[in-house]
């Protein structure tokens, strides 16, 4: 571990609070991460010094705000290694970004009889937009299934992706199983069949190095709030040529070329896709998050999360009443762990763990088709970030054991 955990912890004051009179172990990072004080300071600094609307202003604050905003775009560009900052579109979040692609690219390029291929482990945000697009267009939505080990079935992918396939949309990392999908291989497959590939990076960016040119994805979407940035900001990366050819998604200020009474023309990318006043402060905060993550080093962050999973996963699987979904090998895992306790509903588990200060999530994790596939209606999910500690893993295991005991006895 190349960074000092105590330094890191001092950047996240929210983590040092107590909940329900217990030490907080925040293990709900896949839902939303916490933000370091550097990101909060960037937000405040922007609002206290430079706040103005961007691009159209001639005055000093507007110019500063524009520099801040476009500077953040360049930071994101370098972080994911996009060719050009024009390929980085700021959105409200990952869901907004995926809807943009489905509505703009999908609406323009999908026809009756075409196929859209996604995986069974998709989050609803990378599933319903394609499902509804397919329904509107009388296209077919096809699913890539899982192997017995809870990984994407690449043999099935090779069968499912055909010359009728126009779009392949797959998550880079599962928000339930903790698996990392071979996006690069899928991109090759998709391109062999002249389809475009959309990567859902919500659970990948901020947890592992991501290089969109190396992955050769055509689109890639992610959220600021899951990578230590503010809420209300996200990114759609797209290859310039594709973005240029796409119609706008939303209409309004800042995205126009010329507006006449009966028709309008559009600005160049990225502005064509940024209608209305953008979340400038959010972009600035995201830029600060990128700086923070790069300061720690993405390799270090990934190693740290793997170390935590390596510590906790075997202890979890060793409990006879615990079922862990997804790969059992820590090396094939992000910090996301889904599990259930026998004869106990995950909601009851989550309430009990909360009493012990352990914040986990319970439910379908916006992945109902995956739940169906796994034969459950819901699971518990603990998800780790680089600022979690061995103490957090201990607290989780202890709380699970006590929960089991509590419900075994019926009452304490």
């Amino acid at each position: 571990m190349a960074f000092n955990i105590n330094d890191v912890l001092s950047d996240f004051p929210i983590l040092s609070q107590r909940v329900n009179d217990e030490r907080l172990a925040y293990l709900d990072n896949a839902a939303t991460a916490q933000r370091p004080r550097q990101v909060l300071a960037a937000l405040q600094d922007f609002y206290i010094h430079d706040n103005a609307n961007v691009h159209r202003g001639v005055h000093t604050l507007a110019e500063r705000a524009t520099e801040d905003y476009e500077g953040a775009r360049v930071k994101v560009q370098h972080f994911i290694n996009a060719r050009s900052s024009a390929e980085v579109i700021f959105t409200k979040g990952c869901t907004d970004a995926l809807n943009l692609v489905a509505a703009s690219y999908g609406e323009a390029n999908i026809q009756a009889g075409d196929e859209i291929v996604i995986s069974i482990m998709e989050h609803h945000s990378n599933l319903i937009p394609w499902q509804q697009l397919a329904r509107r267009k009388h296209a077919t939505l096809k699913y890539i299934g899982l192997t017995a080990q809870g990984q994407l079935d690449m043999a099935a992918a090779r069968r499912q992706i055909t010359d009728r396939t126009k779009i392949v949309a797959v998550t880079h990392a599962s928000n339930v199983l903790g698996t990392v999908n071979p996006l690069k291989e899928l991109a090759v497959l998709a391109h062999q069949h002249k389809a475009v590939i959309v990567g859902d990076g919500a659970q990948a960016v901020g947890h592992m190095p991501v290089d969109v040119q190396d992955l050769d994805v055509d689109f890639y979407a992610f959220s600021g709030h899951k990578m230590m940035g503010p809420m209300g900001i996200g990114v759609l990366y797209g290859k310039a040529a594709l973005l240029r050819a796409m119609p706008p998604y939303q209409y309004g200020g800042e995205m126009i070329g010329d507006v006449h009474r009966d028709d309008s023309t559009w600005a160049d990318i990225p502005f064509k896709f940024e209608a209305g006043t953008q979340n400038v402060a959010g972009a600035v905060g995201l830029g600060a998050a990128v700086d923070y993550l790069q300061g720690l080093g993405m390799d270090n962050i990934q190693a740290r999360e793997r170390e935590l999973v390596t510590a906790v996963l075997p202890r979890l699987t060793a409990l006879p009443y615990v079922t862990v979904y997804g790969p059992q090998d820590p090396r094939q895992h992000t910090g996301v762990l889904a599990f259930n306790l026998a004869h106990l509903h995950p909601h009851d588990v989550a309430t009990a763990l909360d009493m012990e200060g352990v914040a986990i999530r319970a439910g379908h994790h916006c992945a109902q088709p995956l739940m169906e596939k796994l034969g459950v209606t819901a699971t518990a999910r603990a998800s780790f970030a680089f600022y979690n500690t061995r103490e957090d893993t201990d607290q989780l295991i202890r709380a699970i054991k006590e929960t089991k005991e509590f419900f075994n006895r019926g009452t304490i």
Binding site: H345, A352, G410
Partner: protein, 153 residues
């Protein structure tokens, strides 16, 4: 605080209802049915009611969910069986009101039978929906137009 606070939520009567639910199963015929989901967690209640002469002659439920939602369905069905629909709707209102922190008279509460114990859910705001789901399903089943489609189906 550890798990001791849980005792307030998972009382013995609740755990009993959850592990040995009353009225779980399917009625051969039903005059009113309603399927409700709690979309935040996937709890499902499928409720079947037989109403005759403005009275709940029989009631049963199927579905899946957490201890709270299952216990609540069991308690709810036990509490309303044999009651007039008016009385049952009044009970549903009492329960929903309690769950959002509104006060009701002692006699209203007593009407609820075992189910009143679940008003302890108020200390666990994230779980309120689990407890109210069955009562909502009852309201919707009794009030809905016979033409109306089941919700969320």
């Amino acid at each position: 605080m550890g798990l001791s606070k849980l005792n307030g939520l998972y009382r013995e009567v609740i755990l009993d209802h959850a592990s040995h639910p009353h009225n779980k199963g399917k009625l051969p015929t039903a005059t009113n049915t309603m399927t409700l989901h709690n979309p935040t967690c996937g709890d499902t209640i499928n409720l079947q009611v037989n109403v005759a002469d403005h009275r709940i002659k029989d009631i049963a439920f199927t579905g899946e969910g957490c201890t709270i939602s299952q216990a609540s369905a069991s308690m709810m069905t036990a509490a309303v069986k044999g009651k007039t629909t008016t009385a049952a709707l009044a009970m549903a209102k009492t329960f929903s009101d309690m769950a959002i922190g509104q006060q009701h008279s002692r006699s209203d509460l007593d009407q609820l039978g075992d189910a009143q114990v679940l008003t302890s859910i108020m200390e666990f705001p994230a779980r309120i929906k689990c407890a109210t789901l069955a009562w909502w399903a009852l309201q919707r089943a009794l009030l809905k137009d016979s033409d109306e489609e089941d919700d969320n189906e």
